[in-house]
Amino acid sequence: MKEAGLSRPLALPMIGVDRAWRLPLALATLLALLLAGSLFAGPVAVGPRELLGALLGRNLSVAEIIVWELRVPRTLLAAMIGASLGLAGAVLQGLLRNPLAEPGLIGVSASAALGAVIAFYTGFAAAFPLGLPLGGMVGAGLAVALLMILAGRQGSTLTLILAGVAVNSFAGALTALALNLSPNPYAAAEIIFWMMGSLADRSFQHLGVAAALTIPGWLLLISVARSLDALSLGEDAATSLGFDLQAVRWRAVLGTALAVGAAVSVSGVIGFVGLVVPHLLRPLVGYQPARLLPVSALGGAVLLVATDIFVRMLAPGPELKIGVVTALIGAPFFLILLLRLRATSP
């Protein structure tokens, strides 16, 4: 059983390789369609011809400004953040061998928000372009490291969730405190952005600073893929196969901190994406952590771009925060998962 699990990717027949590519290709196609569709979503109607003209043209029409300065960066940001959350969820679940590990649920996102809030409202972010995502990264990194210490090695699901709840509420409270202490009258009202997340009115500047940290984060996260496969056999087995688990852990922590920290620092906390996506896709990749990572990234992007289109189509009135919608999808899912876990493990 163990041997089969490990050797399958190497000894796959041709037809199997095709099948292995089928899911990523389907997700990539869906993502491409959604990315195109996302450019049409917004309170101002921009028809297909106008959209094409705006994408190609350089005549500074209003449609062009709307498409290039608002919809394109927003769409790309949704895809990037969705991918980060999906990927980080899959890696954390594999690393902690715990189906409930998810950046939002275990307090990593909330801590990233705290870091970003401190960087933003103290003026650090304005003084230095990468200040904002770096703040998010430090917050997320501290939280992941703390959780690894509290519940990392042989911690049960319960330990992890309880530690996560504690980190989550603590970071949330400190965020609210930091915003209340800010001298700006608007700051206190902005708690909701950091807690529920939004992609509204983000620009290429946000995309740029977030991407600068996100891409190294993805590379680190993807680099642990094969070790996660080995880890699914247990720590001893993984060590005996020659994986340096300490190094694997640090790469995963740093990768999560970079990707989730950068995501949260420009969009606030968007929960449940990293929980729902890996769970839906896991059976489709034969429960192999290594194969789960790339499809989780694609799936996360698909989910978040689709949710963001939905949020924008709920016109008129003030836009619903995107984290509200992901929580509406994710929370029932989380409960079902809990019930199933209880049924399988007495």
Binding site: P43, V44, V62, L70, T122, G123, S182, N184, A187
Partner: protein
Amino acid sequence: MAREAMRGFGSALVRRLRDRRGLGFRAGALALALIALTISGPAEARPERIASMNLCTDQITLALVERERVASLSALVAQADYSNAADDVAGIRLNHGLSEEILPLEPDFVVAGTFSAQPTVMLLSRLGHPTLVVDFARSIDDVRTNVRTLGGAFGEAARAEALIEAMDGRLAAAAGPTGSNRPTALYLQPNGYTAGGDSLIGDVIGHAGLTNLGAEAGISGHGRLSMETLLALAPDILITDESRDRAPALAYEILEHPAVTALLARSIRVQVPTRLWICGLPAIAEAVELLADARRRVTGEAGS
């Protein structure tokens, strides 16, 4: 022993409260007499210890009566971002809408806004202090009404008329040519809030000879515009206020978004300090003049 002392202290407290109430009743009777005087007598009542609890009534009060007659103003009036009188209130006792700040001053007239601390206003009124609640201004006409109302209450009707006349003179000078083809304007606050129809700011924009796009976009009072709608409206004149000292907030990002910067390349940007029109005051004329200048820049009319 200790219990005895406590009881003694307790009954003393009760006695003092009773005395206070007696005082309140007497003040109430006095206030009734004053009101009766206002209604019946030809001689106007002249309150000498006026307490104002609202930024807008603060400033009208200061314009209508001598400083010696002002017992207290709201704390916001000392903040230059919001108040035109920030430099003139040194030495005047400031309140934060709390009964305990107002009561010891024994005001003979209390002015409050609709949004002032309601419990305090009700308490003061119940204790017999003559209280006047002034509605906030939704138009320049409301400004005239409010100034007249307070002028009447303070026994300064002539001064009120003089203030209104001065304001009307400035408004007439700023008014643009009648007819269509008015340049368009949009007021943009942090967070994308704007003023539509049935708002003071909308009325000011109209008085400056401009079309308020906030109203055209279907907003009544104050409301929020999505950035896309804002871009699609493409105003000739974009009105903002960046004079305020700003600590970082996400709310300001809309003013710095590259899309707004691109839009600005085609609009005239005018700064109207918030203090000029956060309240319905005669100072509103200055806001109309600022916007009228911008209108002349768009239409090419001869400036004044």
